[in-house]
């Protein structure tokens, strides 16, 4: 008993020494059960966010107003499916199967980014999502390129390259609309009004109310806090809004010379928790759609498996 205990202590010491030297933790390395649990939760949530995130944008592929926009949007949603794929693989390297993760998504046990529980109502929402939602995601993901778990960090490097392209094309959509006809400009401002606050919510609760944050920073899973990332996003985005002649829907926005950043208004945390708890405008729809396509695909997956098994038997014989 004693020696086992000592071994465990030694293992923790080695693990922490690796983190202290900024070395990556790899799938075959020993890791504390809580570290594994934390990462499985985080990576699978991240993967689910990519997959559920296909729906609000997929909603506009068939209505994109030009050939170029149609192709770019379809490619973007396809990229998101690809990101989901890398991330599911990264999570699988920690000992959970894709089926288990999907099951957790379908039953509501696993969460995904709440931003995707808002509806996409006009074409301008494709601009706002690319610009703001992907922009906020990049803040987080750039940090995660240096996260302590190797497969997750490497997935992030690939993902970040594509995300910054997504953000640029989203901003370009908004720019074209904002400098277009009065109706187009109104559409752009309306989309900004609806997506601004939910985008700020993407960084999660305030630091003092984020129970998992301290541990995640200690393990170098996260390198910056929710509030730090949110502040950086606001600082970057306000000037982008002004540049295309739109207005940030927050009267409290004001440059603060002392902190070299913008002060901004209070987020509606009641709304944040309402959506997190499953009562946002689209929570039920997103999951129902996901379950529907999964169930409708069951016979296809069964057929593919049955065919592969028959083939294997023929080869073996």
């Amino acid at each position: 008993m004693n020696s086992l205990k000592l071994d465990e202590n030694q293992l923790i010491e080695n693990f922490e020494a690796k983190l202290a030297k900024n070395e990556m933790i790899e799938p075959k390395d020993w890791m504390p059960a809580q570290y594994r649990k934390h990462l499985i939760r985080q990576i699978s949530q991240h993967a689910h966010s990519e997959i559920i995130g296909m729906q609000p944008e997929g909603n506009w592929i068939t209505r994109a107003p030009s050939m170029r926009r149609k192709m770019v949007l379809l490619a973007k949603v396809q990229d998101e499916a690809g990101h989901g794929l890398y991330l599911y693989s990264a999570a699988e390297s920690m000992g959970i199967s894709r089926e288990e993760m999907l099951e957790q998504l379908h039953t509501g046990e696993a969460k995904y980014s709440s931003i995707f529980n808002y509806p996409t109502l006009t074409w301008a929402d494709m601009g706002a999502i690319g610009w703001l939602v992907d922009g906020a995601a990049i803040m987080n993901q750039v940090m995660l390129q240096r996260t302590s778990y190797g497969p997750y960090a490497r997935a992030m490097v690939r993902i970040c390259k594509e995300e910054s392209f997504h953000q640029r094309q989203g901003y370009e959509i908004m720019n074209v609309l904002a400098s277009g006809s009065p109706e187009q400009k109104e559409m752009a401002q309306d989309a900004l009004n609806r997506w601004w606050w939910p985008s700020l919510m993407m960084f999660g609760p305030r630091d003092e109310e984020s129970p998992n944050s301290a541990q995640a920073i200690k393990w170098k899973i996260k390198r910056e806090t929710n509030d730090q990332l949110r502040q950086r996003f606001v600082n970057q985005t306000v000037s982008q809004v002004e540049k295309i002649g739109l207005v940030v829907p927050d009267k409290a926005i004001k440059w603060n010379e002392a902190k070299k950043g913008y002060d901004f208004g209070e987020i509606n945390w009641d709304e944040f928790w309402t959506v997190v708890k499953g009562n946002g405008p689209c929570n039920k729809l997103r999951i129902a759609n996901k379950i529907k396509s999964h169930d409708e695909g069951a016979w296809v997956r069964e057929a593919a498996n049955a065919h592969a098994e028959k083939n294997n038997k023929t080869k073996a014989a």
């Binding site: 997959i51 296909m54 729906q55 997929g58 592929i61 068939t62 209505r63 994109a64 107003p65 030009s66 050939m67 170029r68 926009r69 149609k70 192709m71 379809l74 490619a75 949603v77 396809q78 499916a81 690809g82 989901g84 794929l85 599911y88 074409w123 074209v176 277009g180 006809s181 109706e183 187009q184 759609n289 396509s293 409708e296 695909g297 069951a298 016979w299 296809v300 997956r301 069964e302 057929a303 593919a304 498996n305 049955a306 065919h307 028959k310």
Partner: protein, 252 residues
């Protein structure tokens, strides 16, 4: 019809097939039976829409009325679309999607191969690019026909239903009117009769491997190439063109 006008119509027929099938497939994005297949179908949809785009740019230039590819896609009405009936058929289930894909991919593979030899340099160049994608599409849907045919009793039955109900659109793929035959004579258009044997033998080979029988005694439908469509196309266009038509004359 003068020869520029018939060339314009010919390019539209090819482009409309690619666009409408790509659009149908893009409706499935995020709804695939599993993630890898979702990605594959979006990829094929993108290939098809991309090929259509190159063709519309060329068609607009040939028409010479200062129109853009977007004018041709978003401002033509149902009767002006010249795609075959097959490609506008709805995504009833995955067996229909793959059966529709398989019939078109097989036709398109041999069609693009032949079009590479067109006397029209632009069409030949677009076909040379498209054939690389068509080769992958053909393998992708052919493999699914084998999997679904051989897989389970349910998948076999669903695939059989799909073939039975989509087979009536096969002959239209090879129809050619007088104007098109004129382009064949000039070495511009593909003589579809010349690729029919290859089409039939590839279909027969894959279907045999899949344990499927070729449907017989089916009455053949046509009309798409003359702009007389099934009722499905109107809804597809209404959706596709809704934003563009709601804000006339603006940039996107």
């Amino acid at each position: 019809m003068n020869s520029q006008a018939s060339l314009f119509q010919y390019i539209l027929k090819i482009a409309d097939n690619q666009l409408i099938l790509g659009h149908r497939l893009s409706e499935q994005c995020s709804k695939g039976p599993f993630l890898e297949e979702d990605i594959a179908c979006s990829n094929i949809a993108l290939d098809l829409i991309g090929a259509a785009n190159s063709l519309y740019i060329y068609a607009a230039a040939i028409e010479g009325e200062n129109k853009t590819e977007d004018d041709l896609v978003f401002l033509r009405s149902e009767r002006a679309f010249k795609n075959v009936l097959l490609v506008e058929q709805p995504n009833t289930d995955f067996a229909y999607i793959m059966c529709r894909q398989f019939l078109f991919d097989t036709y398109d593979y041999f069609f693009q191969q032949a079009l590479q030899k067109s006397n029209d340099q632009t069409l030949a160049a677009i076909a040379a690019k498209t054939i690389k994608e068509s080769t992958y599409h053909l393998r992708h849907s052919g493999n699914w026909i084998i999997r679904l045919g051989d897989g389970t009793p349910e998948s076999n039955l669903r695939l059989k239903n799909a073939f039975t109900n989509l087979w009536c659109y096969v002959d239209e793929l090879f129809e050619q009117d007088a104007a098109e035959l004129d382009l064949v004579a000039q070495g511009i258009a593909v003589d579809t009769q010349s690729i029919k044997t290859q089409f039939t033998s590839h279909i027969a080979e894959i279907m045999q491997t899949a344990g499927m029988e070729i449907p017989s005694g089916i009455f053949m439908q046509s009309g798409g190439k003359k702009g007389v469509h099934t009722e499905h196309l109107g809804f597809l266009l209404a959706e596709m063109q809704s934003v563009h038509r709601s804000f006339p004359g603006v940039k996107w």
